[in-house]
């Protein structure tokens, strides 16, 4: 029987509860958002005792469904003040699902200065005081826990940034290679740090495992689903070959590549940081151009990047990080960016928020644009050490802008805008503006349709027509992906390969013995988005917060594109 596991850090007690019927059909983001909306006071301080940190695997996590092992973390975000769901790969979702844990809810705050570690296993969850690993980086935590508990243990951990409750702190998840994936966005690592939990170790030995309502039907549907993923050129060929960094040249050609803190839309050294160059470099150095962030990923957009001597530097080297440090901070050197990526993972800061914050700091004159060694120093000696400058940088792009009086600060609801300029790719601008999460490209990835015509043809990225409808449609679908435990890229075959969505619905029905139809997707998306928005409104947000920063009214080369949506046009988004 699936259960909810609850940890109260105020009195250091734990308990197991039956799953209330209204949550039974939910998973991943739909569930974390429903729980946060039901149990967290919207006006609470995100780092205070009334916030709760919720983890939930996707509905299909733990099954053999391809790419279904994403793990959702939810809370009120200390970075944005909104509701937050951030999902990641790694092994935790599948372990939780096998243990029958529908959600882990962590509430309250401990008194005193002690730190704790949680252990989740077939008997539930236990709390133990922790001293040895406090102050340690995420890689050291994973290594130490494997030594204590065995190589197979799952790990959720925060680095020094989370301990210091920095607003860009993330929560790392161990992957199958004992490396890290991250619940990156929104500062959830600070929430975990506020509850003084350094790590959550997971042991799924003796777990009951998953019982399928109809194993034969599931198997057939899972096969059709996997075939759809392989058939689509993006998930079958593009992503496995070039990784997400394939977007560097695409977005540069289209004139939407944020460069020099969003001053230009193209970067002259784009080839230095392109997916093509990344692939050639990885192969020449004996790394791996294909790698999955979770067991069961058949797309493998991740990779293992080595240095010149063939030594491991980083994995999960994403377009966003490469672009924001490479072009937006003008570093233009994959080796330096890879080292920065590794440092950010170890310290435990979101690589998007931090990279954008560095761009703003460069504009402020804290260091020159292009100063890669300077960035490594800031990460190591300032952010990692928690100096006053490090704390400002670790508070995210918006706060760096405030501290230094910069006006070109790319944030929405105080969360950094990632690596697509919304002036030249307008659909993603609507997503940045309206997402319940603050600026977040993954909550409605309009870039695929704007640039490559995913889902039935190109919606011209430079025109306003159709963008609000596009973003709304994508945000609704994405809730489903985030709730089933699927990675974002399933959105491509789901939009283009007719067998994909029916197979997905068949898998859900065969897993749970349900009779869902594809209409279920829309219902789940609409309900979840409205629940999240109601939380934000109760927390004090209005439609005026669904706006891009003023500087996007300035034209950006090469198209001299401007952000020209009126407030009323943006507000149409919520008309459903």
């Amino acid at each position: 029987m699936d259960k909810i596991v609850r940890v109260n850090m105020s009195d250091l007690t734990t308990r197991m509860e039956a799953v209330p019927s209204e949550w039974a059909g939910l998973g991943g983001r739909a569930l974390t958002s429903a729980i946060v909306a039901a149990e967290v006071i919207p006006t609470c301080h995100p780092l205070g005792e009334n916030n709760k940190l919720v983890f939930a695997p996707g509905l299909l996590s733990g099954t053999t469904a391809a790419n279904s092992g994403r793990f959702s973390a939810g809370a009120k975000s200390p970075l944005t003040g909104t509701i937050k769901e951030s999902n990641a790969g790694g092994t935790a979702a599948q372990m939780f699902a096998r243990l029958g844990i529908k959600a882990l809810i962590i509430e309250g705050l401990p008194r005193g200065d002690s730190w704790y570690g949680l252990r989740v296993n077939k008997d539930g969850v236990s709390i133990a005081e922790e001293t040895e690993l406090i102050g340690k980086g995420n890689f050291a935590v994973v290594e130490a826990l494997e030594a204590r508990l065995g190589k197979k243990c799952g790990v959720l951990t925060i680095g020094p940034a989370g301990e210091m409750r920095m607003l860009s702190a993330n929560i790392s998840v161990k992957d199958s290679d004992s490396k890290l994936r991250s619940h990156g966005r929104g500062g959830l690592g600070a929430v975990m740090g506020s509850k003084r939990i350094k790590f959550i170790a997971i042991d799924d030995s003796g777990a009951a495992g998953i019982t399928l309502a109809d194993p034969e039907k599931f198997k057939a549907a899972a096969r059709t689903f996997a075939r759809a993923l392989i058939e689509h050129p993006a998930t079958g060929e593009g992503l496995p070959t070039f990784g997400t960094a394939e977007m560097v040249n695409i977005v540069n050609a289209a004139g939407g590549l944020p460069t020099r803190n969003f001053t230009y839309g193209r970067f002259e050294k784009h080839e230095n940081i392109s997916g093509e160059t990344l692939r050639d470099t990885i192969i020449a150095r004996g790394g791996s151009p294909k790698h999955g962030c979770q067991p069961g990923c058949i797309i493998q957009c991740s990779q293992v990047y080595n240095d010149k001597d063939g030594k491991y530097v980083t994995s999960g080297f994403e377009y966003e990080t490469i672009e924001m440090l490479g072009a937006n901070a003008c570093i233009g050197d994959l080796d330096v960016i890879a080292r920065a990526d590794h440092l950010m993972d170890d310290i435990g800061v979101d690589s998007i928020e931090t990279a954008v914050a560095i761009g703003v700091a460069m504009e402020a004159g804290v260091l020159p644009f292009g100063d890669g060694e300077g960035v490594l120093r800031l990460l190591r000696e300032e952010i990692g050490a928690g100096t006053p400058l490090g704390r400002i940088l670790g508070s995210g792009a918006g706060n760096v802008g405030r501290a230094y009086g910069v006006t070109r600060v790319p944030v929405v609801k105080n969360q950094a805008i990632p690596a697509y300029d919304p002036r030249s790719i307008k659909g993603i601008g609507i997503t940045y503006a309206t997402s319940t999460m603050g600026a977040d490209h993954t909550s409605g990835y309009a870039v695929g349709t704007n640039l490559m015509g995913v889902g039935g043809g190109i919606v011209d990225p430079l025109k306003k027509e159709g963008q609000v409808e596009l973003s709304r449609h994508l945000q609704i679908i994405t809730v489903m992906l985030d709730s089933v435990g699927l990675c974002l890229f399933i959105g491509f075959p789901a939009a283009d390969i007719p067998t994909c969505v029916p197979a997905l619905i068949d898998m859900l029905n065969a897993r749970f013995g349900l009779e869902l139809t594809p209409e279920w997707i829309g219902g789940l998306g609409v309900t979840t988005l409205k629940t999240e928005r109601a939380f934000n409104i109760a927390a004090g947000f209005t439609n005026k917060d669904d706006r891009l920063p003023e500087f996007f009214r300035e034209p950006v080369a090469p198209h001299n594109a401007v952000w020209d949506f009126s407030g009323e046009e943006i507000d149409e988004f919520w008309n459903f």
Binding site: P233, A234, T235, E237, G238, L239, T241, F242, T244, A245, E246, M247, N249, I250, A253, A254, G255, E271, G275, E276, C301, E318, Y319, E320, E323, A419, H441, Y445, V447, G448, L451, M452, G453, V454, I458, D460, P461, L462, L488, F489, F492, P558, H559
Partner: protein, 74 residues
């Protein structure tokens, strides 16, 4: 007239990254694609001067052409 042709991802294998090419004035994008040996069905995104352009686009001197296979996202 002279145009710049930029190829990306798998289109580069056995071809080139960037080349200046001469064509008669008014050549259509489709003819350039054929001239570099790419099947139209393989094209995921075709841009002229950074903007989406259909295969029937009549090219002008100095145009920059960008051709991508079907790729994915970030």
């Amino acid at each position: 007239m002279r145009v710049t042709v930029n190829l990306y991802a798998t289109f580069r294998s056995g071809r080139f990254e960037q080349e200046l090419r001469d064509f008669p004035l008014g050549t259509m994008l489709r003819e350039v694609v054929a001239a570099v040996g790419i099947a139209e069905s393989e094209i995921g995104m075709s841009l002229v001067n950074g903007c989406h352009a259909p295969m029937e686009r009549a090219l002008r001197d100095g145009d920059s052409i960008y051709l991508f296979p079907l790729l994915g996202g970030g």
